[in-house]
């Protein structure tokens, strides 16, 4: 297998794909939204519980590839306990990391999320990584309709 590919499918990703964290629904969640990737037809639903402006619980459900599943799993871990603004800042940096071409730069603030740095070499898979995030933001903004990554 090529080196590139090892960059994409890092152990952390394979692990979160196999055993996704925070997988499942939150009954009566404060906020929820569904996201859809038109390129493949996959869906993800994100649930958020809040208390005092902090997200006390974030979970997801849906069908997707390893990249989107691991991204959802790692996202829920990253944003749990954070405020909306903090989550937004993480999203911004994450998105920048996976969409910026050119020389790779380190993103230490992203913690485990940095494993998705390799996605930028796979343009058609970028939406896999960002789908959970777009859905998460839609839930925060209380959008009713399913969002799509386009």
């Amino acid at each position: 297998m090529s080196l590139d590919l090892r960059e994409l499918y890092q152990e952390v990703i394979l692990d979160h794909n196999k055993r996704p964290r925070n997988h499942g629904r939150i009954e009566g969640a404060a906020r929820t939204a569904e996201g859809h990737n038109p390129l493949c037809g996959d869906n993800v639903r994100v649930y958020i519980s809040t208390e005092d402006g902090k997200m006390t619980d974030v979970r997801f459900e849906g069908s997707g590839c390893a990249i989107s599943t691991a991204s959802a799993s790692l996202m829920t871990e990253a944003v749990k306990g954070k405020s909306f603004e903090e989550a937004e800042a993480i999203f911004k940096e994450f998105q920048q990391m996976v969409t910026t071409t050119g020389e790779a730069v380190p993103h230490p603030d992203l913690g485990d999320l940095e494993v998705f740095a390799g996605v930028r070499e796979y343009p058609v898979r970028i939406k896999c990584a960002t789908l959970p995030w777009h859905t998460f933001r839609a839930a925060l903004q209380g959008e009713e309709e399913a969002v799509s990554t386009e």
């Binding site: 090529s2 394979l14 390129l39 493949c40 037809g41 069908s63």
Partner: protein, 444 residues
């Protein structure tokens, strides 16, 4: 035609397809995405190049030299398609933008009752109206579903669906039960792009005709792999996606029985499809011009002609020098016989090797299949399979293959699909399987 010669080695034909030399991330390309689009032989590439350098002009009504060359090459291509399909007349061959447009044309013209008045004084116009039924199958491509949904909605007709078995075959009993005098049209795919199933078209047409229904056969996946005889099938409409038949993109074919095409109202309006235009009254041209508004894809159609030439060459090469006076039609029949066998060999071997891997499931197990192997792996999503195989130079397609209702029926969101052409090799089938085996290990 029976063959007396030993089958020649198909691998020598790879040299006719320059793109097969491509190296992807250090590995030789194994192009197993032929159901999405086929690669083009040098003969076609050369015909296109020659066209742009020495023949390009708008066709029809041109009196000058280039226009005459372009027109005669263009018209010759229509006759070649007639031969390919064994149509009764080249006037029954309509060039469109693609298979999807061909189906839309029929769906629209059969439900545009209002415009029917405008045709050249035809008395009876075939028409689907309120309360009528349109039958399609669970295994249709979106291109043979959505146009009928739109048409049914337009006129208030009902769309009904022929179920399929777990093996991916049409449930003929259920089909018989669904057919009634209300059925005005049956839309059925000849070869499923997701399952590879070859449907029993001739029988299905007969059954439909018995209740007075018309049949449109979506031949997008049959065109590249089977020898088609529209007269024998007795299909009312037959559609081709030419970029899948080793020809350029941007060309489709609609075959229709002459009487039907003559009776139907026109589709798009514009240059070339008219006889006379005045603001008071416009009359339409005869077939095939009636359905070809605007400048056609001249280069694409000429490229299609070259692709058919290539297939006829292939038939002659396959037979060898024994039958020097084969007709083009005979050569094409031989070619597709050989292609179908070769592709089945490749696909069967790929299936066999894949099934040795625990967790692999193959979708579609009809006994007569075209070279399509659709599969899933328990631990990896089809897109992950696609990406990882790509890094080994193996090109497959992952997704719903424009068959969402079929995916629903199969209970999967998507599949990975390897689709073979005659220029593929056993080695490529092996590379596919060993790639999938590695993924299995990686994801378990």
């Amino acid at each position: 035609m029976t063959l007396t010669v030993k089958a020649p080695n198909f691998e020598v034909l790879r040299a006719d397809f320059p793109i097969l030399e491509t190296v992807v991330r250090g590995k030789q390309l194994a192009y197993l995405d032929n159901a999405a689009t086929s690669q083009k032989p040098q003969l076609v590439i050369d015909a296109l190049d020659r066209y742009w350098r020495a023949q390009n002009a708008n066709v029809h009504r041109g009196v000058h030299y280039l226009s005459q060359i372009a027109t005669s090459e263009f018209d010759a291509a229509r006759v070649k398609v007639q031969t390919l399909l064994n149509a009764a007349s080249s006037k029954e061959v309509i060039f469109t933008r693609g298979c999807s447009e061909s189906i839309n044309l029929v769906a629209t013209c059969l439900t545009s009752g209002a415009s029917a008045k405008a045709t050249n004084g035809q008395k009876t116009t075939p028409c689907i109206a309120e309360g009528d039924e349109i039958l399609i199958s669970t295994m249709e491509h979106h291109s043979n579903i959505v146009p009928w949904q739109m048409a049914a909605e337009r006129v208030g007709a009902t769309l009904k669906v022929i179920p399929i078995s777990d093996a991916g075959e049409i449930d003929l009993e259920a089909y018989a039960g669904l057919l009634s005098e209300k059925t005005k049209l049956v839309g059925i795919v000849h070869v499923s792009n997701s399952l590879g199933t070859v449907n029993p078209i001739k029988q299905m047409v007969e059954m439909a005709h018995a209740v007075g229904a018309l049949v449109l056969v979506d031949g997008a996946q049959a065109g590249p792999h089977l020898s088609i005889d529209v007269q024998d099938l007795d299909a009312d409409f037959y559609t081709l996606s030419c970029h899948k038949i080793y020809a350029p993109t941007g060309v489709g074919v609609l075959y229709g029985k002459r009487a039907l095409l003559e009776a139907m109202p026109p589709y798009q309006g514009g240059g070339d499809m008219i006889r006379t235009v005045s603001f008071e009254r416009t009359t339409y041209a005869e077939l095939p011009a009636k359905y070809e508004a605007g400048t056609p894809n001249v280069a694409g159609v000429i490229g299609l002609g070259a692709a058919i030439d290539y297939l006829a060459h292939l038939g002659r090469w396959y037979v060898g020098p024994e039958k020097p006076d084969m007709t083009d039609r005979e050569a094409l029949v031989v070619a597709f016989g050989a292609i179908h066998r070769r592709e089945a060999e490749l696909a069967n071997e790929a299936s066999r090797l894949l099934l040795e891997i625990p967790g692999v499931q193959i979708n579609g197990s009809a006994p007569d299949k075209a070279g399509i192997v659709s599969f899933t792996l328990d631990c990896a999503h089809p897109h992950d399979i696609g990406t990882i195989l790509d890094s080994d130079g193996i090109a497959i397609r992952a997704g719903h293959h424009c068959c969402m209702p079929l995916m629903n029926r199969l209970g999967v969101p998507a599949t990975a699909r390897a689709s073979f052409a005659f220029y593929n090799t056993m080695n490529e089938a092996e590379r596919l399987a060993s790639g999938v085996r590695k993924i299995k290990e990686m994801f378990s």
